[in-house]
Symmetry: C2
Subunit: 205 residues, 2 copies
C-alpha cells in the first residue's frame, strides 16, 4: 500500500497489530477516525481506551478486573457467599455471569499450570485461593477450568492444596453439549458421558 | 454482557463504535490490550493513532493527506507534472498509486456534488482545482470519479468550470472488468461497452 503520509502509515500499523485486524481493515479504521471531528474522536474513542489501560486494577480478593480495590461481584456478594468458583481468566467470569446460574464469588487464577509454557503454580493466584478457602466462610470450591490436560493438572494440584480446608471440591459437569449431535461428539466425550450417565427425571425438563 | 469494570465497558463501547467491530470483537481487543505491558501498549498502539489524529494535515496544493504543508506526491512530481487526476477522496489516490500506471499529480475534491445529501460545489475543493488548472503548466485533467449519477454530475460541472483553462479533459475508460464474466456484467455496462467498443490490436496484449 502506498501512503502519502507517514503518520497515517504508522497509525495503520498500530491498528493492524491488534488481533483480527488486517492491513485493509486498519486503513479503514484510520480513515474513519480522520473523517470525524478531531476532538470528538480523541474524547470518545481514544480517551476511554487509554483510561482503561492506565486505571484498571485487579480485585484484591478474587483478582478479577476491577475499577477499585474490590470488584463489583466481591462487593455485592463477598460477605454472604458460601461458594468460590475458580476460573482461569476474567473472560470466564463474564461467561459464567452471563448464564445467570451462579451467585457466589470467583477466584481468577490467571492461567493454568503448564510446564511446557513455563507456567508453574507460583505464577498463578493459588496461595490467595488457599488462604480464602481456609479463612472465610466457604463450604464449596467449584473448579470451572477447561478440561484440557493442563486444566486437569491444575484441578488436581488445587484439590491437593485445598485438602485441609474443609471445603467440598466440585467441577463443572462434563458430557455432550446441549443441541449437539451425537455423531459429531468426540469419542472421549461420548465414551465418558456413557460411563458417567445420570438418572433421567421428568422434572428437569 | 456483564462487565465487572466500568472502565472495561467504556473501552469496549469505544472500540465497538468503530466500523466493522462488534461487541465481541471489541471485548477481545480490549482484553488483548490489558494482557500486554501497559507502557508498551500506550506507546506502540495508542500513541501513533493519537499522533495521526492530532498532527495529520491536508496538502495545500492537492488536499491529499499529508505530514507537512505539501504531500509527498506534490513534492516529488509537482514541478514537472503535466496531468492532474481529480478524485473524490484520499482513498482513491492510494488506489490509483497502487496501479503504478500514473505519474502525475492529484486533486482531492473531498466528495461529489450531491444535492440530496446537501453537498453543493462550494463544499468541495473545486475553486483550487480551477486555479491550478489555469495557472500551472498542466495540459490534461483526468476525471477519476465514480460513474454514479452524482459522479457524472460532478464531472459535467467540473468540465464546464474548466472550459476556459486550455486543458484536455478526460475520464477513466468504462467497460467490462478484466476477469469479469459477461453474463454477470450489468446491462448498462455491457450495452455501453458494445457501443464504445475499441479496435483490437495484438500489441496491447
Amino acid at each position: 500500500m502506498s501512503y502519502s503520509s507517514q503518520l497515517l502509515e504508522q497509525a495503520v500499523d498500530a491498528f493492524s497489530g491488534l488481533p483480527g485486524i488486517g492491513k485493509k481493515s486498519a486503513l479503514r479504521l484510520a480513515l474513519h477516525l480522520l473523517k470525524q471531528d478531531k476532538d470528538q474522536v480523541l474524547s470518545s474513542v481514544l480517551k476511554p481506551i487509554e483510561k482503561m489501560i492506565r486505571e484498571i486494577k485487579f480485585c484484591s480478593s478474587c483478582h478479577n478486573l476491577s475499577d477499585g480495590d474490590q470488584c463489583v461481584i466481591c462487593q455485592q456478594r463477598g460477605h454472604k457467599a458460601d461458594k468460590i468458583c475458580v476460573v482461569e481468566s476474567f473472560r470466564d467470569v463474564m461467561a459464567i455471569e452471563e448464564t445467570d446460574q451462579y451467585n457466589g464469588v470467583y477466584h481468577v487464577l490467571g492461567g493454568v499450570i503448564s510446564p511446557l509454557d513455563g507456567i508453574s503454580p507460583e505464577d498463578l493466584n493459588i496461595d490467595t485461593l488457599v488462604e480464602r478457602a481456609g479463612l472465610e466462610h466457604f463450604t464449596e470450591v467449584i473448579m470451572a477450568i477447561s478440561p484440557t490436560i493442563e486444566g486437569e493438572t491444575t484441578i488436581y494440584y488445587l484439590s491437593k492444596r485445598l485438602k485441609n480446608c474443609n471445603v467440598t471440591i466440585s467441577q463443572l459437569a462434563r458430557g455432550i453439549s446441549f443441541g449437539g449431535e451425537l455423531e459429531y461428539a468426540d469419542e472421549l466425550t461420548l465414551g465418558r458421558s456413557i460411563i458417567t450417565r445420570t438418572p433421567y427425571s421428568i422434572s428437569e425438563i
